[in-house]
Amino acid sequence: MSKILNYDLVVVGGGPAGMAAALSAKDNGIPEENIIILERSDRLGGILEQCIHSGFGATYFGEMMSGPEYAQRFIDLVNETKIVVETDTMVLNLTDDNQVICSNKEDGIYAINAKAIVLAMGCRERPRGALDIAGSRPAGVMSAGAAQKYVNIDGYMPGHKVVILGSGDIGLIMARRMTLEGAKVECVCEVMPYSGGLQRNIVQCLEDFDIPLYLSCTVVEVHGKDRVTGVTIANVDEKMLPIAGTERYIECDTLLLSVGLIPENELSRQINLEMDPITRGPKVNEMRETSKRGVFACGNVLQVHDLVDFVTQESQIAGKGAAQYIKGASEPKYVTCKGINGVRYTVPQRIDINNQEEVKIYFRVANVYKDKRVVVTCGGKELWNRKKLKLAPGEMENVFIKPEDLAQMNEGDEIVVSIEEA
């Protein structure tokens, strides 16, 4: 390697997570010129740059703004500092001794020795191939996010008559976006009996435009030789298998897929981070430190978030954790966290009992629940018990663990989050 640089902190990814982590590390005492953000796109902002709809920032800034506006707040803050930003730069490898190998057109391949690394690579959309959709393989089948980029960034229509499979938030947003651009959105099909998106998006993106949402329904076959000419949809049973006799054909030229997001953890796997099979992200402690000391993760690379506001908050924790680690951290003593009774996962998955601050545990539920209680226990002791009118898989939930409760725990104890009868 001809060129090797040295930084205190290398942040991989310049989206909302990476920017917030870098700024937080600076605020927690890391010299700004010793922080570098590596971004593969030609600008900071990540996926927010193509999310031109409103709905960002209500929690964090107390105002509604578009994705680019939300991103710009942080881009401005980064630009006011001496934090180094390298755009058009791809990280090729991470090494076991915290070296980051990256590549761009100006500098070629080079290495950066890092005292700490924050992984903030975001997530990707599940493609068609991962689903069992029969039929031909014409043009006109694409992920909702790819269509969003064609419309909002490149300024081209990816289709005129559209069926959307999956009611994740991007699918819902694109149903409205395509309609506003003059396309006809025939329907949104959701294989689950409930939507995976935010309730507000179902109202504002579908109901306000009279776009039907078919629950427990999926696309079973794609038709068309060169370009999509139609799809066959069918209802599914409780095992999510198509029910014979319920098939119907819908003419369309485009099938958009919003069938799930997968954290992008190629780099995490390269350095053998311990992964959570449910979140598909690394397992982390309350400061978002992974199983490898000095390597942190935050944002959608860790768990797919519903709101960017929570990404920002989580990434500030990771930035602070990285700063503390660089300045010298003590050996942690962990208790583990797990979800049961409909709680699919928790982030963090472990907490250092020496932690002096309140810890927010995020989780998602496996089904739609009404009038239940969220209960947190540790070794038989109840730490949290709140009534919830509604819990849904599309919305992230959270509970808090107080430092005084942590102080009474022993290394190896287990914190359990569960859903109980009200």
Partner: protein, 478 residues
Amino acid sequence: MVYDIAIIGAGVVGSLTARALSKYNLNVILIEKSSDVAMGTSKANSGIVHAGFDAMNGTLKAKLNVKGCAMMEDVCSTLFVPYEKNGSLVVAFTDQEMKHIEELYQRGLGNGVPDMEIIDAAKLKELEPNISDEAKGALWAKSAGIVSPYELAIGAAECACGNGVELRRNFTVDAITYENDEFTIKCVCGCEVKAKFVINSAGLGAADIAKKFDGEEFEIIGRLGEYGLLDRSCEGMATRTIFQCPNEMGKGVLVTPTCHHNILVGPSAINVDDGAETSVRVGALREIFATAGKSVPIVSTRDMITSFAGIRAHSTTDDFIIQFATANDHFLNLIGIESPGLASSPAIAEYVEDMVLSVIGKPETNPNYNPSRKQPIIFRELSMEEKEAVIAKDPAYARIICRCETITEGEIRAAIKAPAGAIDVDGVKRRTRAGMGRCQGGFCGSKVLEILSEELGKPLNEMTKFGGESKIIYERTK
């Protein structure tokens, strides 16, 4: 201009034949109805270089398969095409099937297949730890291999075009006439090609082409094969190609590694009427994975990154038919080139070359003949020093476009600029693997479109997935 030879069909056989004939001072044209080479059976099959024990003794299939298998390693290394001699296993689950593999072994000996061995369950488990506990034994053929089938066709076409062969795409044969020792091949668009000799290697369309020429009838059955491709994280689930015992519809469902470290599961075998219909049937993948699970229980649709289907041209004679038209020895038909057509393809090309020369006499050799092509740069496989050297020459190799497969802008531009280069998104994908990874082009698709548009000098919204009406985007937004 009147070409010396027109080859109809730029699949793996047509392309290798074009390469074989490019050794001579002949004007050769390779005609393809699709927008790219390898768009038919050659792009959607198992990619297996069969050892050659399946075909009956004395058949053309047996002869060309064993010979082609022996030639494949050298052809692939010359053309820089991914190939691996990983060996194959036909697994038996019952005493009956043990007898069947003994038969296959004997047949293989008769066909001249080298390096075969019948192994017991313990040895099988040692070779393939993920094999089913129900397996009793297997026929192990060490000469079998895997090849990237479409890259073999692309490599051969690039080589042929580099040696002066002309590739004409989007040419759908409408009619062929013969007058004054000259064939006139008409395209549906109205244009025509004149040639003194025609090789009909049109795969599934070959019977139709033969009929269009002189009315001669061949019976071809389109046989659909559906597949599921698993993520690279499944590498190692199988290291050899694992067959079950063959049946009357073919070699059954296999589980095999691919040259690109994925695991391929399939194919089904369904006779279809429409040779252009390559849809995956509803529920097919569940059936295929259930069958595959019998030999390798670990495979699951959970790990699938894509599914596809291809059609092989099955001849009712159950053998390759390579013969001149009844009344014209300047029109050579290649009919029923189904499995093991890929394994046989280098031998078929040589066989066809001999047949052509037997009629036209031996032409002068092409003084500029190069059996190879420009070696494609595969960035992800280079050492750090090599990467740095490549980037120093062309910084486009420092910009990663496809993050799943680590494909650079430089590789994509080279694939478009190459002889017989890519002109659409799928063409780029087959040449570089951009879009072949687990996100299946979700992220890099629009970037590939931009590079194509730039290189070809055409607007973004004229770019297609695979030619024809397969446009990816339409007009500008309001």
